[in-house]
Amino acid sequence: MEKNQIHRQVALLRQSLFDQGFIDEQFVQLEELQDDTNPKFVEEVVTLYYRDSTRLIVCIEQALDKNPLDFNKLDSLMHQFKGSSSSIGARKVTAESTQFREYCKAGNGEGCMRSFQQMKKEYITLKKKLETYFQLARQVGPLDSTSRPN
């Protein structure tokens, strides 16, 4: 019973992540790749993402500290970051990354800073939510991956 409840909770949490725009269709692609041979695939990928992107974020922060700002470099770093984020389906994070790049192209340093802060917020928020989600999911075992976001 409890398991069912947890199942339901997991499903609801998952659905809410989609509904609130934290994750998108790409996340489903990852879920579909998960199978018996690789039952924790999604979690592994997300963990890998957070580990690797931390490095990028540090680089971006350092670059943002410079004066004058090297927009090309910032753009390039963010481009990489965007690639990763979009690959795991981190929708809001990716959107902010895009915005950041727009500011870079326009040479808008302030815009870059703002957008970066916003992106970081989303990034951390998503991380927490996904951690919760995975913890819960572990308790119930593999979820039915056929449930797609509406």
């Binding site: 790409q26 579909e32 990928v45 690639g83 690959s87 795991i88």
Partner: protein
């Protein structure tokens, strides 16, 4: 009954095994994925495994190349990211195309038109936008099959042209397939053979399909290049090359297919400014079926050839005459003359009047030739050799371009006076025809195009006008650039040097595709808009309204685009006097496109050569309508031009004006 039953079952089982074999493909397709992003790498790997492909991953381009080199027949297709720290994805793409000739798919989070175009021009057979979905990966096997198919076709053509097709059969032998693709290959080859039955001497080559691919090592390639140079571009037929090389175990087919690639490469290079004219030069001579060499031969090539003595003086003069004097083309080379004049008139306002329809397209084959004639030996044979050497390391060229190429450039006293005003270069470049591309702010904006181009092209281009001194100066004899080597990128508008963004590559170089660097900055501007339009007309890139379509700074883009189209157009350029092959430097992309188109285009280019290349070219040949339309669209929008010319790594700095 039993017997029949037995037979039936036997038949069935044999059929089944065939089916099984075919059904298995594309399972087992061997994919190499290169991406510095571990997250994406992991995801793509998993996706490919889910598609039942065999996956190898690399997070660095260098290690990917090493894997490919170590195991030449070990992979069927490569998927590579565009932005990587140690090597640009496009460079890797070129390297792989040249050295291993595998289909390469690019991927990136960047979906900008220009970048995608760059992928196209560099020879990528597809471009995926991140995030990648598994559906997109499921069908990548088609690129493997398509490539093989085109290789067949190319071989066939070259064979038939050169040897009367009596060896067609052997072509199949030469095509090596990966294990999974072998069945397909076998199936196809046997199918083909049935069609060509009469021509084949022996038919049972199925087994030969599995022949291991010949590894074209640096030494082997050098021997090949030396043989080609020795024979002269126009005489470089696989049979003779093979004889000269005298390498045991090497078959004519191996040489033929490598020659194809080499030509594509040269073509691509010719579009690239920095390119080493030497290499191209060797191909220049080849006017035969493969026209591409010609088209790709930019002034530089011609020059190089001339210098290297590849082009007999007589020939040169003929070429020149052809180009400048509009005399009847020699040996059937399309007479780009008309174009040439136009080209030359670049400098002059004449050009503006559109009189010069940009011959760029033509430049491809004949024009170029003509131009060169007068070219003094700017390039010494040694240089050629150097160039050839660098062929193998093409991708490395960027950096190296300058060193090795610069001599070339300077040779012809390539002067790139910023204002190219009538300073006739000793090379024969009519004054003003200096390869502007380089010096002009093209700098990087051109996407490196400027650099390389200037280096090589300058020399080449410089030489063009030489002969026609008077003509040129008068009419701004801009050598018929169909696709002067690298010039395209260079020509960019003089003025817009600085702001030429990457796209500008296109711009710069081609002030319309004509001779990149030949114009005076001011002139460039002038004709850019108007003339280009005219010129572009030919190029299928749509119509003359390029200028408007050109993006802001890329005014030249239009021409450039055209030019690009030309070069890359190997497909399209056929009209440009055989420029079809790729007068456009893009080379890399040419590979894909070229190979596909080439087969059809090649033939066409020969016929088209005369005049009207402009329009003729592009639209007709390609099988790739999508490409065409895409290109055309681009033309209008002019964005894409640039990508082609963006010769990464080609440093403009090398160009010494």
């Amino acid at each position: 009954m039993n017997q029949s039953g037995g037979k039936g079952s036997m038949l069935t089982s044999s059929r089944k095994s065939n089916e099984v074999v075919l059904d298995q493909f594309p399972a087992g397709l061997r994919v190499l994925v290169v991406d510095d992003d571990p997250t994406c790498l992991k995801i793509v790997e998993k996706m490919l495994r889910t598609c039942h492909y065999e996956v190898t991953t690399c997070n660095r381009a260098e290690s990917a190349l090493a894997s490919l080199q170590a195991n030449r027949n070990g992979f069927d297709i490569v998927i590579s990211d565009v932005h990587m720290p140690d090597m640009d994805g496009f460079k890797l793409l070129e390297r792989i195309g040249l050295e291993m000739d595998l289909p390469v798919i690019m991927m990136s989070a960047d979906d900008g038109k220009q970048v995608v175009m760059k992928g196209v021009t560099h020879g990528a057979c597809d471009y995926l936008i991140k995030p990648i979905r598994i559906e997109e990966l499921k069908n990548i096997w088609q690129h493997v099959v398509r490539k093989r198919k085109n290789e067949w076709k190319e071989l066939e053509q070259s064979v038939s042209i050169e040897d009367g097709g009596d060896r067609m059969q052997k072509q199949f032998e030469d095509v090596d397939y990966s294990s999974s693709a072998n069945e397909v290959g076998n199936w196809k080859s046997s199918k083909r053979r049935k069609d060509e039955e009469d021509e084949f001497e022996d038919k049972d080559d199925t087994s030969t399909l599995k022949k291991p691919r010949v590894v074209w090592s640096v030494e082997l390639h050098q021997q090949f290049v030396a043989a080609v140079n020795q024979l002269g571009i126009d005489k470089a037929v696989p049979k003779k090359i093979l004889e000269l090389m005298n390498v045991p175990g090497l078959t004519r087919e191996n040489v033929a297919s490598h020659l194809q690639k080499y030509r594509l490469y040269l073509r691509r290079l010719s579009g690239v400014p920095q390119h080493q004219g030497g290499i191209n030069a060797s191909f220049m001579g080849t006017q035969d079926a493969t026209f591409s060499p010609i088209s790709s031969l930019t002034g530089l090539d011609l020059r190089a050839l001339a210098v290297a003595g590849q082009l007999p003086a007589q020939r040169l003069s003929t070429l020149q005459a052809m180009s400048f004097a509009r005399s009847s083309p020699k040996s059937g080379q399309p007479v780009p003359m008309v174009d040439q004049r136009n080209v030359f008139s670049f400098n002059n306002s004449k050009f503006k009047t559109g009189e010069g329809q940009l011959q760029q397209p033509n430049l491809g084959s004949n024009n170029q030739m003509n131009l060169l004639h007068g070219i003094p030996t700017t390039m010494e044979p040694k240089q050629l050799a150097e160039l050839h050497q660098s062929f193998e390391n093409m991708s490395n060229m960027q950096a190296s371009v300058s060193p090795s190429n610069s001599p070339l450039m300077h040779r012809g006293s390539v002067r790139f006076p910023p204002n190219m005003s009538q300073t006739l270069m000793s090379n024969g470049l009519p004054g003003g025809l200096l390869p502007r591309c380089m010096p002009a702010g093209n700098g990087r904006g051109l996407g490196g195009y400027t650099n390389p181009v200037s280096q090589t092209t300058s020399s080449a281009s410089l030489t063009f006008p030489m002969n026609h001194g008077p003509e040129l100066s008068g009419s701004n004899s801009f050598p018929p650039l169909g696709s002067p080597p690298g010039i395209p990128s260079l020509t960019q508008k003089g003025p817009s040097k600085e702001d030429i963004p990457v796209n500008s590559d296109a711009k710069g170089s081609t002030t319309g595709g004509i001779l990149p660097g030949y114009y005076l900055p001011n002139d460039l501007q002038q004709f850019q808009s108007n003339d280009w339009e005219l010129q572009n007309v030919g190029l299928a890139f749509n119509s003359p309204q390029n200028t408007s379509s050109l993006t802001g700074n890329l005014e030249n883009a239009a021409p450039l685009f055209v030019q690009q189209g030309i070069s890359s157009g190997s497909m399209r350029n056929s009209s440009s006097g055989g420029g079809s092959k790729g007068s456009f430097v893009e080379g890399s992309h040419h590979q894909n496109l070229s190979s596909v188109v080439n087969s059809s285009v090649r033939i066409k280019s020969e016929t088209v050569a005369d005049t009207s290349y402009q329009n003729v070219l592009y639209t007709e040949h390609f099988g790739q309508e999508d490409l065409m339309s895409a290109l055309l669209k681009q033309q209008e929008g002019i964005g894409p031009v640039n990508p082609e010319f963006d010769l990464d790594g080609y440093s403009v700095d090398n160009i010494h004006v």
